[in-house]
Protein backbone atom coordinates (compact mmCIF):
# COMPACT_ATOMS: atom_id res chain seq x y z
CA UNK A 1 0.00 0.00 0.00
CA UNK A 2 1.56 3.32 -1.03
CA UNK A 3 1.33 6.61 0.82
CA UNK A 4 -0.69 8.05 -2.02
CA UNK A 5 -3.26 5.29 -1.56
CA UNK A 6 -3.55 6.06 2.14
CA UNK A 7 -4.59 9.60 1.31
CA UNK A 8 -7.45 8.30 -0.77
CA UNK A 9 -10.34 8.00 1.68
CA UNK A 10 -13.64 8.98 0.12
CA UNK A 11 -14.80 12.57 0.50
CA UNK A 12 -18.16 13.34 2.08
CA UNK A 13 -19.67 13.85 -1.36
CA UNK A 14 -18.21 10.62 -2.68
CA UNK A 15 -19.44 8.73 0.39
CA UNK A 16 -22.93 10.09 -0.11
CA UNK A 17 -22.88 8.99 -3.74
CA UNK A 18 -21.68 5.49 -2.80
CA UNK A 19 -24.36 5.17 -0.13
CA UNK A 20 -26.94 6.26 -2.68
CA UNK A 21 -26.15 3.11 -4.66
CA UNK A 22 -27.17 0.90 -1.73
CA UNK A 23 -30.93 1.28 -1.28
CA UNK A 24 -31.03 -0.73 1.95
CA UNK A 25 -28.82 1.82 3.71
CA UNK A 26 -31.61 4.37 3.61
CA UNK A 27 -34.17 2.22 5.38
CA UNK A 28 -34.93 2.63 9.06
CA UNK A 29 -35.18 -0.08 11.67
CA UNK A 30 -36.38 -0.68 15.23
CA UNK A 31 -39.00 2.02 15.25
CA UNK A 32 -37.61 4.58 12.86
CA UNK A 33 -33.91 4.64 13.67
CA UNK A 34 -31.54 4.98 10.73
CA UNK A 35 -29.70 1.78 9.95
CA UNK A 36 -26.01 1.79 10.88
CA UNK A 37 -24.78 -1.38 9.22
CA UNK A 38 -21.45 -2.56 10.64
CA UNK A 39 -21.68 -6.24 9.77
CA UNK A 40 -20.20 -6.39 6.28
CA UNK A 41 -17.70 -9.09 7.27
CA UNK A 42 -20.74 -11.37 7.61
CA UNK A 43 -22.30 -10.16 4.39
CA UNK A 44 -22.17 -6.88 2.51
CA UNK A 45 -25.05 -5.06 0.93
CA UNK A 46 -25.47 -4.94 -2.86
CA UNK A 47 -25.36 -1.79 -4.95
CA UNK A 48 -28.02 -1.06 -7.54
CA UNK A 49 -25.49 -1.83 -10.30
CA UNK A 50 -25.25 -5.45 -9.12
CA UNK A 51 -29.00 -5.86 -8.74
CA UNK A 52 -29.56 -4.28 -12.16
CA UNK A 53 -27.09 -6.66 -13.77
CA UNK A 54 -28.86 -9.68 -12.28
CA UNK A 55 -32.26 -8.38 -13.28
CA UNK A 56 -31.06 -7.64 -16.82
CA UNK A 57 -29.74 -11.18 -17.12
CA UNK A 58 -33.07 -12.67 -16.10
CA UNK A 59 -35.09 -10.25 -18.19
CA UNK A 60 -33.04 -10.48 -21.38
CA UNK A 61 -30.72 -13.48 -21.48
CA UNK A 62 -32.01 -16.09 -19.04
CA UNK A 63 -31.21 -19.60 -20.20
CA UNK A 64 -29.21 -22.66 -19.12
CA UNK A 65 -25.51 -22.02 -19.65
CA UNK A 66 -23.49 -24.43 -21.84
CA UNK A 67 -26.66 -26.11 -23.11
CA UNK A 68 -28.92 -25.63 -26.11
CA UNK A 69 -28.36 -24.21 -29.56
CA UNK A 70 -30.80 -21.32 -29.32
CA UNK A 71 -29.89 -17.68 -29.12
CA UNK A 72 -30.73 -17.22 -25.44
CA UNK A 73 -28.49 -20.16 -24.55
CA UNK A 74 -25.67 -18.53 -26.47
CA UNK A 75 -26.24 -15.20 -24.75
CA UNK A 76 -26.44 -16.74 -21.28
CA UNK A 77 -23.26 -18.72 -21.90
CA UNK A 78 -21.54 -15.59 -23.16
CA UNK A 79 -22.68 -13.61 -20.11
CA UNK A 80 -21.46 -16.34 -17.76
CA UNK A 81 -18.07 -16.67 -19.45
CA UNK A 82 -17.67 -12.89 -19.67
CA UNK A 83 -18.31 -12.74 -15.94
CA UNK A 84 -15.50 -15.27 -15.46
CA UNK A 85 -13.16 -12.98 -17.42
CA UNK A 86 -14.10 -9.98 -15.29
CA UNK A 87 -13.61 -11.85 -12.02
CA UNK A 88 -10.28 -13.23 -13.24
CA UNK A 89 -9.08 -9.76 -14.22
CA UNK A 90 -10.13 -8.44 -10.80
CA UNK A 91 -7.72 -10.82 -9.03
CA UNK A 92 -4.99 -10.87 -11.68
CA UNK A 93 -5.76 -14.41 -12.78
CA UNK A 94 -6.08 -16.27 -16.07
CA UNK A 95 -9.74 -16.74 -17.01
CA UNK A 96 -9.61 -20.54 -17.13
CA UNK A 97 -8.20 -20.63 -13.60
CA UNK A 98 -11.43 -19.24 -12.11
CA UNK A 99 -13.96 -21.81 -10.89
CA UNK A 100 -17.41 -20.67 -9.78
CA UNK A 101 -18.72 -22.43 -6.68
CA UNK A 102 -21.79 -21.85 -4.57
CA UNK A 103 -19.71 -20.11 -1.89
CA UNK A 104 -16.19 -19.95 -0.46
CA UNK A 105 -16.89 -22.92 1.80
CA UNK A 106 -17.56 -25.09 -1.25
CA UNK A 107 -14.39 -23.75 -2.89
CA UNK A 108 -12.28 -24.79 0.10
CA UNK A 109 -13.98 -28.18 0.30
CA UNK A 110 -13.31 -28.65 -3.41
CA UNK A 111 -9.56 -28.40 -2.77
CA UNK A 112 -9.69 -30.57 0.37
CA UNK A 113 -11.62 -33.28 -1.47
CA UNK A 114 -9.11 -33.27 -4.32
CA UNK A 115 -6.57 -34.79 -1.92
CA UNK A 116 -8.79 -37.61 -0.67
CA UNK A 117 -10.41 -38.28 -4.05
CA UNK A 118 -6.91 -38.56 -5.53
CA UNK A 119 -6.43 -41.69 -3.40
CA UNK A 120 -9.09 -43.62 -5.31
CA UNK A 121 -7.81 -46.03 -7.93
CA UNK A 122 -7.47 -44.46 -11.36
CA UNK A 123 -8.17 -40.90 -10.17
CA UNK A 124 -4.77 -39.59 -11.18
CA UNK A 125 -4.29 -41.64 -14.36
CA UNK A 126 -2.59 -39.58 -17.02
CA UNK A 127 -1.43 -36.93 -14.54
CA UNK A 128 2.27 -36.06 -14.47
CA UNK A 129 3.79 -38.09 -11.63
CA UNK A 130 5.44 -35.09 -9.99
CA UNK A 131 2.15 -33.15 -9.90
CA UNK A 132 0.17 -36.20 -8.77
CA UNK A 133 2.62 -36.67 -5.89
CA UNK A 134 1.70 -33.25 -4.52
CA UNK A 135 -1.87 -34.46 -3.96
CA UNK A 136 -0.85 -37.78 -2.40
CA UNK A 137 -1.88 -37.58 1.23
CA UNK A 138 -1.83 -40.33 3.83
CA UNK A 139 -0.46 -41.42 7.16
CA UNK A 140 2.73 -39.61 8.03
CA UNK A 141 1.78 -36.59 5.95
CA UNK A 142 0.72 -33.35 7.54
CA UNK A 143 -1.85 -30.63 6.85
CA UNK A 144 -1.11 -27.20 8.33
CA UNK A 145 -3.72 -24.57 9.14
CA UNK A 146 -3.76 -21.74 11.70
CA UNK A 147 -5.55 -21.21 14.98
CA UNK A 148 -7.33 -18.12 13.57
CA UNK A 149 -9.22 -19.92 10.79
CA UNK A 150 -12.91 -19.54 10.14
CA UNK A 151 -14.60 -22.94 10.51
CA UNK A 152 -14.86 -23.10 6.71
CA UNK A 153 -11.06 -23.28 6.43
CA UNK A 154 -10.72 -25.52 9.47
CA UNK A 155 -13.36 -28.24 9.50
CA UNK A 156 -12.72 -29.36 5.88
CA UNK A 157 -9.06 -29.96 6.77
CA UNK A 158 -9.95 -31.79 9.97
CA UNK A 159 -12.20 -34.01 7.90
CA UNK A 160 -9.53 -34.49 5.24
CA UNK A 161 -7.09 -35.59 7.95
CA UNK A 162 -9.69 -38.03 9.26
CA UNK A 163 -10.36 -39.48 5.79
CA UNK A 164 -6.71 -39.89 4.87
CA UNK A 165 -4.92 -40.59 8.15
CA UNK A 166 -2.84 -37.44 7.73
CA UNK A 167 -2.08 -35.30 10.78
CA UNK A 168 -3.53 -31.81 11.23
CA UNK A 169 -1.17 -29.22 12.69
CA UNK A 170 -1.57 -25.50 13.15
CA UNK A 171 0.27 -22.23 13.54
CA UNK A 172 -0.64 -20.59 16.84
CA UNK A 173 -1.86 -17.08 17.55
CA UNK A 174 -0.13 -14.57 19.83
CA UNK A 175 -1.90 -12.69 22.63
CA UNK A 176 -2.11 -9.60 20.44
CA UNK A 177 -3.79 -11.50 17.63
CA UNK A 178 -0.97 -12.16 15.18
CA UNK A 179 0.15 -15.50 13.77
CA UNK A 180 3.00 -16.88 15.86
CA UNK A 181 5.59 -17.39 13.14
CA UNK A 182 8.36 -18.17 15.65
CA UNK A 183 7.86 -21.89 15.17
CA UNK A 184 6.97 -21.74 11.47
CA UNK A 185 9.89 -24.00 10.56
CA UNK A 186 8.88 -26.65 13.08
CA UNK A 187 5.18 -26.62 12.11
CA UNK A 188 5.72 -26.59 8.33
CA UNK A 189 8.16 -29.42 7.58
CA UNK A 190 9.04 -31.94 4.90
CA UNK A 191 5.96 -33.89 6.00
CA UNK A 192 3.64 -30.96 5.16
CA UNK A 193 1.61 -31.46 1.96
CA UNK A 194 -0.72 -28.48 2.21
CA UNK A 195 -0.84 -25.20 4.13
CA UNK A 196 -4.26 -23.54 4.33
CA UNK A 197 -4.55 -20.15 5.99
CA UNK A 198 -6.54 -16.98 5.99
CA UNK A 199 -5.35 -13.77 4.36
CA UNK A 200 -7.28 -11.60 6.83
CA UNK A 201 -8.83 -12.84 10.07
CA UNK A 202 -12.61 -12.39 10.11
CA UNK A 203 -12.43 -11.83 13.88
CA UNK A 204 -9.14 -10.09 14.62
CA UNK A 205 -8.82 -8.11 11.39
CA UNK A 206 -5.18 -9.20 11.23
CA UNK A 207 -3.64 -9.12 7.74
CA UNK A 208 -1.36 -12.14 7.68
CA UNK A 209 2.16 -12.17 6.20
CA UNK A 210 1.35 -14.33 3.19
CA UNK A 211 4.86 -14.20 1.70
CA UNK A 212 6.58 -15.60 4.79
CA UNK A 213 4.22 -18.57 4.94
CA UNK A 214 4.30 -19.18 1.18
CA UNK A 215 8.12 -19.09 1.19
CA UNK A 216 8.28 -21.74 3.89
CA UNK A 217 5.60 -23.89 2.25
CA UNK A 218 7.39 -23.72 -1.09
CA UNK A 219 10.68 -24.65 0.52
CA UNK A 220 9.15 -27.95 1.66
CA UNK A 221 7.08 -28.50 -1.49
CA UNK A 222 3.68 -28.01 0.17
CA UNK A 223 0.69 -26.56 -1.67
CA UNK A 224 -0.82 -23.35 -0.31
CA UNK A 225 -4.50 -22.46 -0.01
CA UNK A 226 -5.48 -18.91 0.92
CA UNK A 227 -8.88 -18.00 2.36
CA UNK A 228 -9.34 -14.55 0.85
CA UNK A 229 -12.95 -13.95 1.94
CA UNK A 230 -11.97 -11.00 4.12
CA UNK A 231 -9.31 -9.58 1.82
CA UNK A 232 -10.78 -9.52 -1.69
CA UNK A 233 -13.56 -7.07 -0.69
CA UNK A 234 -11.15 -4.71 1.06
CA UNK A 235 -7.63 -4.95 -0.41
CA UNK A 236 -6.25 -5.13 -3.92
CA UNK A 237 -5.61 -8.86 -4.35
CA UNK A 238 -3.35 -10.21 -7.10
CA UNK A 239 -2.97 -13.97 -7.15
CA UNK A 240 0.38 -13.79 -8.92
CA UNK A 241 1.84 -11.37 -6.36
CA UNK A 242 0.56 -13.47 -3.48
CA UNK A 243 2.27 -16.57 -4.83
CA UNK A 244 -0.24 -19.04 -3.39
CA UNK A 245 -1.51 -22.11 -5.25
CA UNK A 246 -5.22 -21.74 -4.48
CA UNK A 247 -7.35 -18.86 -3.32
CA UNK A 248 -11.01 -18.85 -2.29
CA UNK A 249 -13.48 -16.06 -1.70
CA UNK A 250 -17.20 -15.42 -1.58
CA UNK A 251 -19.27 -13.10 -3.74
CA UNK A 252 -21.67 -11.86 -1.10
CA UNK A 253 -19.04 -10.22 1.09
CA UNK A 254 -17.82 -8.05 -1.81
CA UNK A 255 -21.11 -6.42 -2.90
CA UNK A 256 -21.96 -9.45 -5.04
CA UNK A 257 -24.96 -11.78 -4.82
CA UNK A 258 -25.48 -14.62 -2.39
CA UNK A 259 -24.98 -18.11 -3.79
CA UNK A 260 -21.69 -17.65 -5.58
CA UNK A 261 -18.08 -18.14 -4.55
CA UNK A 262 -14.80 -18.40 -6.38
CA UNK A 263 -11.95 -20.85 -6.34
CA UNK A 264 -8.86 -19.70 -8.13
CA UNK A 265 -6.12 -22.28 -8.69
CA UNK A 266 -2.97 -22.63 -10.78
CA UNK A 267 -4.07 -24.27 -14.00
CA UNK A 268 -1.60 -27.17 -13.91
CA UNK A 269 -2.89 -28.05 -10.44
CA UNK A 270 -6.57 -27.71 -11.34
CA UNK A 271 -5.89 -29.83 -14.40
CA UNK A 272 -4.45 -32.59 -12.21
CA UNK A 273 -7.27 -32.59 -9.68
CA UNK A 274 -10.08 -35.14 -9.70
CA UNK A 275 -13.60 -33.66 -9.63
CA UNK A 276 -15.45 -32.87 -6.41
CA UNK A 277 -19.15 -32.66 -7.30
CA UNK A 278 -20.08 -34.71 -10.34
CA UNK A 279 -22.98 -34.74 -12.79
CA UNK A 280 -23.96 -32.71 -15.81
CA UNK A 281 -21.73 -30.09 -17.45
CA UNK A 282 -18.49 -31.38 -15.98
CA UNK A 283 -18.05 -34.41 -18.24
CA UNK A 284 -16.11 -35.12 -21.40
CA UNK A 285 -17.66 -38.50 -22.20
CA UNK A 286 -20.15 -40.63 -20.28
CA UNK A 287 -20.72 -44.32 -20.85
CA UNK A 288 -22.46 -46.82 -18.60
CA UNK A 289 -19.06 -48.31 -17.75
CA UNK A 290 -17.53 -45.01 -16.68
CA UNK A 291 -16.93 -41.38 -17.54
CA UNK A 292 -14.16 -38.95 -18.36
CA UNK A 293 -14.17 -35.34 -17.30
CA UNK A 294 -13.94 -31.92 -18.87
CA UNK A 295 -10.95 -29.67 -18.41
CA UNK A 296 -11.04 -27.01 -15.69
CA UNK A 297 -12.91 -24.90 -14.87
CA UNK A 298 -15.92 -26.89 -16.19
CA UNK A 299 -14.69 -30.04 -14.43
CA UNK A 300 -15.55 -28.36 -11.12
CA UNK A 301 -18.86 -26.81 -12.13
CA UNK A 302 -21.35 -29.66 -12.11
CA UNK A 303 -24.95 -28.86 -12.89
CA UNK A 304 -26.53 -25.75 -14.39
CA UNK A 305 -24.35 -22.93 -13.05
CA UNK A 306 -25.47 -19.77 -11.25
CA UNK A 307 -25.18 -17.51 -14.27
CA UNK A 308 -27.19 -14.60 -12.89
CA UNK A 309 -25.07 -14.57 -9.74
CA UNK A 310 -21.89 -14.71 -11.82
CA UNK A 311 -23.10 -11.71 -13.81
CA UNK A 312 -23.90 -9.95 -10.52
CA UNK A 313 -20.46 -10.78 -9.13
CA UNK A 314 -18.80 -9.38 -12.25
CA UNK A 315 -20.83 -6.19 -11.74
CA UNK A 316 -19.56 -6.08 -8.15
CA UNK A 317 -15.97 -6.39 -9.42
CA UNK A 318 -16.62 -3.54 -11.84
CA UNK A 319 -18.14 -1.49 -9.03
CA UNK A 320 -15.12 -1.99 -6.76
CA UNK A 321 -12.75 -1.33 -9.67
CA UNK A 322 -14.53 1.97 -10.33
CA UNK A 323 -14.18 2.91 -6.64
CA UNK A 324 -10.50 1.88 -6.85
CA UNK A 325 -9.42 -0.78 -4.40
CA UNK A 326 -6.62 1.40 -3.02
CA UNK A 327 -9.21 4.01 -2.04
CA UNK A 328 -11.52 1.37 -0.55
CA UNK A 329 -8.59 0.21 1.59
CA UNK A 330 -7.67 3.77 2.57
CA UNK A 331 -11.26 4.65 3.43
CA UNK A 332 -11.78 1.59 5.61
CA UNK A 333 -8.42 2.23 7.26
CA UNK A 334 -9.63 5.67 8.39
CA UNK A 335 -12.79 4.08 9.85
CA UNK A 336 -10.79 1.35 11.57
CA UNK A 337 -8.40 3.85 13.14
CA UNK A 338 -11.33 5.98 14.33
CA UNK A 339 -13.02 2.99 15.92
CA UNK A 340 -9.83 1.71 17.56
CA UNK A 341 -9.16 5.19 18.95
CA UNK A 342 -12.72 5.47 20.26
CA UNK A 343 -12.58 2.06 21.90
CA UNK A 344 -9.18 2.85 23.45
CA UNK A 345 -10.81 5.82 25.23
CA UNK A 346 -13.20 3.41 26.95
CA UNK A 347 -11.27 1.46 29.59
CA UNK A 348 -14.18 -0.96 30.03
CA UNK A 349 -13.74 -2.19 26.44
CA UNK A 350 -11.01 -4.61 25.36
CA UNK A 351 -10.20 -5.12 21.70
CA UNK A 352 -9.50 -8.75 20.72
CA UNK A 353 -6.87 -8.42 17.99
CA UNK A 354 -4.29 -5.83 16.99
CA UNK A 355 -5.03 -2.55 18.78
CA UNK A 356 -3.32 -0.35 16.23
CA UNK A 357 -3.92 0.00 12.52
CA UNK A 358 -0.76 -1.74 11.34
CA UNK A 359 -1.41 -4.70 9.01
CA UNK A 360 -4.99 -4.60 10.05
CA UNK A 361 -8.28 -4.66 8.21
CA UNK A 362 -11.67 -3.31 9.21
CA UNK A 363 -13.05 -6.14 11.33
CA UNK A 364 -12.83 -5.03 14.95
CA UNK A 365 -13.88 -7.44 17.68
CA UNK A 366 -14.12 -6.47 21.31
CA UNK A 367 -15.48 -7.43 24.71
CA UNK A 368 -17.15 -5.18 27.28
CA UNK A 369 -16.20 -5.84 30.91
CA UNK A 370 -18.79 -7.98 32.65
CA UNK A 371 -21.34 -7.89 29.85
CA UNK A 372 -22.02 -10.69 27.41
CA UNK A 373 -21.62 -9.83 23.69
CA UNK A 374 -25.21 -10.88 23.02
CA UNK A 375 -26.37 -8.20 25.42
CA UNK A 376 -23.98 -5.66 23.91
CA UNK A 377 -25.27 -6.44 20.43
CA UNK A 378 -28.88 -6.13 21.59
CA UNK A 379 -28.33 -2.66 23.05
CA UNK A 380 -26.55 -1.57 19.86
CA UNK A 381 -29.38 -3.00 17.77
CA UNK A 382 -31.84 -0.99 19.81
CA UNK A 383 -29.97 2.10 18.60
CA UNK A 384 -30.08 0.89 15.00
CA UNK A 385 -26.46 -0.28 14.99
CA UNK A 386 -26.09 -3.73 13.41
CA UNK A 387 -23.04 -5.71 14.56
CA UNK A 388 -22.21 -9.38 14.83
CA UNK A 389 -22.04 -11.16 18.18
CA UNK A 390 -20.87 -14.66 19.02
CA UNK A 391 -17.80 -16.61 17.95
CA UNK A 392 -18.10 -15.60 14.26
CA UNK A 393 -17.49 -19.20 13.13
CA UNK A 394 -14.04 -19.11 14.73
CA UNK A 395 -14.59 -20.98 17.95
CA UNK A 396 -11.04 -22.27 18.47
CA UNK A 397 -9.73 -18.72 18.02
CA UNK A 398 -12.10 -17.44 20.70
CA UNK A 399 -10.96 -20.21 23.03
CA UNK A 400 -7.36 -19.23 22.28
CA UNK A 401 -8.11 -15.60 23.16
CA UNK A 402 -9.85 -16.79 26.36
CA UNK A 403 -13.24 -15.34 25.48
CA UNK A 404 -16.56 -17.11 24.97
CA UNK A 405 -17.72 -14.66 22.36
CA UNK A 406 -17.08 -11.16 21.08
CA UNK A 407 -18.92 -8.23 19.57
CA UNK A 408 -17.63 -7.42 16.07
CA UNK A 409 -18.02 -4.27 14.03
CA UNK A 410 -16.85 -4.54 10.44
CA UNK A 411 -16.65 -2.05 7.61
CA UNK A 412 -17.20 -1.79 3.89
CA UNK A 413 -16.64 1.05 1.45
CA UNK A 414 -20.09 2.53 2.20
CA UNK A 415 -19.49 3.15 5.91
CA UNK A 416 -18.70 6.57 7.35
CA UNK A 417 -16.96 8.11 10.35
CA UNK A 418 -20.40 9.29 11.51
CA UNK A 419 -21.39 5.63 11.77
CA UNK A 420 -18.33 4.89 13.89
CA UNK A 421 -19.48 7.69 16.21
CA UNK A 422 -23.03 6.26 16.26
CA UNK A 423 -21.58 2.92 17.37
CA UNK A 424 -19.50 4.52 20.12
CA UNK A 425 -22.45 6.58 21.38
CA UNK A 426 -24.70 3.50 21.46
CA UNK A 427 -21.93 1.53 23.17
CA UNK A 428 -21.85 4.03 26.01
CA UNK A 429 -25.41 3.00 26.95
CA UNK A 430 -24.31 -0.59 27.57
CA UNK A 431 -22.57 -0.22 30.96
CA UNK A 432 -25.27 2.22 32.06
CA UNK A 433 -28.08 -0.25 31.37
CA UNK A 434 -26.23 -3.11 33.00
CA UNK A 435 -24.98 -1.02 35.89
CA UNK A 436 -21.35 -2.03 35.49
CA UNK A 437 -20.01 1.54 35.34
CA UNK A 438 -21.39 4.07 37.81
Amino acid sequence: MSDIALGGAFTTQESAAIRGDFAILSRSIRGGRPLVYLDSAATSHKPRQVLDAERAFYERHNSAVHRGAHQLAEEATDAFESARETVARFIGAQTQEVVFTKNATEALNLVAYAFSNARAAGSMDGVDAAVAARFALGEGDEIVITEMEHHSNLVPWQELARRTGATLRWIGVTDDGRLDLGDLDTVITDRTKVVAFTHVSNVLGTINPVAAIVDRARAVGALTVLDACQSVPHLAVDVVDLGVDFLAFSGHKMFGPLGIGVLWGRYDLLKAMPPFLTGGSMIQDVRMEGSTYADPPQRFEAGVPMAAQAVGLAAACDYLTALEMSRVTAHEHVLTKALLAGLARRPWVRVIGPVNGKDRSGAVSFVVDGIHPHDVGQILDDAGVAVRVGHHCAWPLHRRMNVTATTRASFAAYNTVAEVEALLTALDRVPVIFGTVV
Binding site: H374, D375, T404
Partner: protein
Protein backbone atom coordinates in the same frame (compact mmCIF):
# COMPACT_ATOMS: atom_id res chain seq x y z
CA UNK B 1 -36.53 -1.34 25.01
CA UNK B 2 -38.68 -3.86 26.82
CA UNK B 3 -36.14 -6.68 26.76
CA UNK B 4 -34.03 -5.87 29.79
CA UNK B 5 -36.56 -5.76 32.61
CA UNK B 6 -35.15 -4.92 36.04
CA UNK B 7 -36.01 -8.44 37.22
CA UNK B 8 -33.89 -9.93 34.44
CA UNK B 9 -30.92 -7.69 35.20
CA UNK B 10 -31.25 -8.53 38.90
CA UNK B 11 -31.32 -12.30 38.28
CA UNK B 12 -28.38 -12.06 35.85
CA UNK B 13 -26.23 -10.16 38.33
CA UNK B 14 -27.10 -12.36 41.30
CA UNK B 15 -28.25 -15.73 39.94
CA UNK B 16 -30.09 -17.89 42.43
CA UNK B 17 -29.01 -21.44 43.33
CA UNK B 18 -25.84 -21.13 41.20
CA UNK B 19 -23.00 -23.63 41.44
CA UNK B 20 -22.81 -27.39 41.06
CA UNK B 21 -23.93 -29.46 44.05
CA UNK B 22 -24.05 -33.09 45.06
CA UNK B 23 -25.79 -35.44 45.20
CA UNK B 24 -27.58 -35.47 41.87
CA UNK B 25 -29.46 -37.97 39.70
CA UNK B 26 -28.42 -36.62 36.33
CA UNK B 27 -26.10 -34.05 34.83
CA UNK B 28 -26.29 -32.57 31.33
CA UNK B 29 -24.18 -30.15 29.36
CA UNK B 30 -25.89 -28.00 26.76
CA UNK B 31 -24.28 -25.60 24.30
CA UNK B 32 -25.82 -22.92 22.14
CA UNK B 33 -23.66 -23.32 19.00
CA UNK B 34 -24.50 -19.91 17.61
CA UNK B 35 -22.97 -17.99 20.50
CA UNK B 36 -20.96 -20.55 22.45
CA UNK B 37 -23.00 -20.20 25.63
CA UNK B 38 -22.92 -23.28 27.81
CA UNK B 39 -24.58 -24.69 30.87
CA UNK B 40 -23.78 -27.71 32.98
CA UNK B 41 -26.89 -28.57 34.96
CA UNK B 42 -27.68 -31.18 37.59
CA UNK B 43 -31.01 -32.31 38.99
CA UNK B 44 -31.76 -34.19 42.17
CA UNK B 45 -35.15 -35.79 42.55
CA UNK B 46 -36.88 -37.18 45.61
CA UNK B 47 -40.03 -39.22 46.08
CA UNK B 48 -41.66 -41.41 43.47
CA UNK B 49 -44.40 -41.43 40.88
CA UNK B 50 -46.80 -38.49 40.98
CA UNK B 51 -45.31 -37.22 44.22
CA UNK B 52 -41.82 -37.00 42.74
CA UNK B 53 -40.27 -33.66 43.64
CA UNK B 54 -37.44 -31.61 42.19
CA UNK B 55 -35.24 -31.55 45.29
CA UNK B 56 -32.44 -29.48 43.74
CA UNK B 57 -31.24 -27.95 40.50
CA UNK B 58 -27.62 -26.80 40.47
CA UNK B 59 -25.68 -25.39 37.56
CA UNK B 60 -22.61 -23.73 36.15
CA UNK B 61 -23.48 -21.41 33.28
CA UNK B 62 -21.60 -19.12 30.93
CA UNK B 63 -23.93 -16.94 28.98
CA UNK B 64 -25.67 -13.67 28.32
CA UNK B 65 -27.91 -11.91 30.81
CA UNK B 66 -31.02 -13.49 29.29
CA UNK B 67 -29.78 -17.07 29.55
CA UNK B 68 -28.26 -16.56 33.00
CA UNK B 69 -31.38 -14.88 34.38
CA UNK B 70 -33.61 -17.52 32.84
CA UNK B 71 -31.76 -20.35 34.58
CA UNK B 72 -31.92 -18.43 37.84
CA UNK B 73 -35.69 -18.03 37.50
CA UNK B 74 -36.00 -21.68 36.53
CA UNK B 75 -34.34 -22.89 39.72
CA UNK B 76 -36.50 -20.62 41.79
CA UNK B 77 -39.65 -21.91 40.10
CA UNK B 78 -38.96 -25.64 40.17
CA UNK B 79 -36.91 -26.42 43.29
CA UNK B 80 -39.23 -27.86 45.90
CA UNK B 81 -42.05 -28.33 43.42
CA UNK B 82 -43.36 -31.55 41.95
CA UNK B 83 -41.93 -32.75 38.67
CA UNK B 84 -45.37 -32.34 37.12
CA UNK B 85 -45.51 -28.69 38.20
CA UNK B 86 -42.00 -28.12 36.89
CA UNK B 87 -42.92 -29.53 33.49
CA UNK B 88 -46.04 -27.35 33.42
CA UNK B 89 -43.88 -24.31 34.14
CA UNK B 90 -41.59 -25.29 31.27
CA UNK B 91 -44.56 -25.64 28.94
CA UNK B 92 -45.90 -22.21 29.97
CA UNK B 93 -42.48 -20.60 29.64
CA UNK B 94 -41.96 -22.04 26.18
CA UNK B 95 -45.46 -21.13 25.09
CA UNK B 96 -44.81 -17.52 26.07
CA UNK B 97 -41.30 -17.36 24.58
CA UNK B 98 -42.38 -18.73 21.21
CA UNK B 99 -45.54 -16.60 20.97
CA UNK B 100 -43.82 -13.68 19.19
CA UNK B 101 -45.24 -11.31 21.76
CA UNK B 102 -48.81 -12.66 21.81
CA UNK B 103 -48.62 -14.48 25.18
CA UNK B 104 -47.72 -12.21 28.14
CA UNK B 105 -47.19 -15.22 30.42
CA UNK B 106 -48.96 -16.27 33.63
CA UNK B 107 -47.24 -15.22 36.83
CA UNK B 108 -48.93 -18.06 38.75
CA UNK B 109 -47.27 -20.59 36.47
CA UNK B 110 -43.85 -19.07 35.84
CA UNK B 111 -43.35 -16.40 38.52
CA UNK B 112 -40.54 -14.01 37.57
CA UNK B 113 -40.54 -15.79 34.20
CA UNK B 114 -43.14 -13.28 32.98
CA UNK B 115 -40.32 -10.72 32.82
CA UNK B 116 -39.10 -12.65 29.76
CA UNK B 117 -42.26 -11.92 27.75
CA UNK B 118 -40.37 -9.23 25.83
CA UNK B 119 -37.79 -11.82 24.70
CA UNK B 120 -40.39 -13.44 22.48
CA UNK B 121 -40.24 -10.41 20.19
CA UNK B 122 -36.55 -11.07 19.53
CA UNK B 123 -36.38 -14.48 17.79
CA UNK B 124 -32.58 -14.62 18.04
CA UNK B 125 -32.79 -14.45 21.83
CA UNK B 126 -35.49 -17.07 22.45
CA UNK B 127 -32.82 -19.75 22.43
CA UNK B 128 -30.92 -17.88 25.14
CA UNK B 129 -33.98 -17.85 27.40
CA UNK B 130 -34.72 -21.53 26.75
CA UNK B 131 -31.15 -22.89 27.07
CA UNK B 132 -31.51 -23.66 30.79
CA UNK B 133 -35.04 -24.99 30.44
CA UNK B 134 -34.03 -27.36 27.63
CA UNK B 135 -31.12 -28.56 29.75
CA UNK B 136 -33.42 -29.02 32.73
CA UNK B 137 -35.98 -31.16 30.89
CA UNK B 138 -33.14 -33.14 29.31
CA UNK B 139 -31.73 -33.77 32.80
CA UNK B 140 -35.16 -34.90 34.01
CA UNK B 141 -35.31 -37.29 31.08
CA UNK B 142 -31.81 -38.58 31.86
CA UNK B 143 -32.95 -39.14 35.43
CA UNK B 144 -35.73 -41.38 34.16
CA UNK B 145 -38.67 -38.97 34.10
CA UNK B 146 -40.98 -39.47 31.13
CA UNK B 147 -41.09 -35.91 29.81
CA UNK B 148 -43.00 -37.00 26.72
CA UNK B 149 -46.18 -37.54 28.72
CA UNK B 150 -46.46 -33.84 29.47
CA UNK B 151 -47.62 -30.88 27.41
CA UNK B 152 -43.98 -29.81 27.42
CA UNK B 153 -43.10 -32.25 24.67
CA UNK B 154 -45.45 -30.87 22.06
CA UNK B 155 -43.93 -29.01 19.15
CA UNK B 156 -40.33 -28.12 19.90
CA UNK B 157 -39.70 -24.99 17.81
CA UNK B 158 -37.27 -25.66 14.99
CA UNK B 159 -35.13 -22.78 16.21
CA UNK B 160 -34.20 -24.90 19.19
CA UNK B 161 -33.28 -28.03 17.36
CA UNK B 162 -29.63 -27.13 16.89
CA UNK B 163 -28.86 -26.96 20.58
CA UNK B 164 -26.20 -29.58 21.09
CA UNK B 165 -26.23 -31.90 24.00
CA UNK B 166 -23.88 -34.11 25.84
CA UNK B 167 -25.08 -36.02 28.82
CA UNK B 168 -23.61 -37.69 31.79
CA UNK B 169 -25.92 -39.59 34.04
CA UNK B 170 -24.81 -40.53 37.48
CA UNK B 171 -26.66 -41.96 40.38
CA UNK B 172 -26.29 -40.20 43.66
Amino acid sequence: MDLYQEIILEHSKRPLHAGLREPFNAQVHHINPTCGDEVTLRVRLSGEGRSMVVADVSYDAVGCSISTASISVLTDEVIGHSVQEALSSFAAMRRMLTSKGADPGDEDEIGDGVAFAGVSKYPARVKCALLGWMAFTDALSQAGVDVSATPASTSVPSALSNTTTSNTTESS
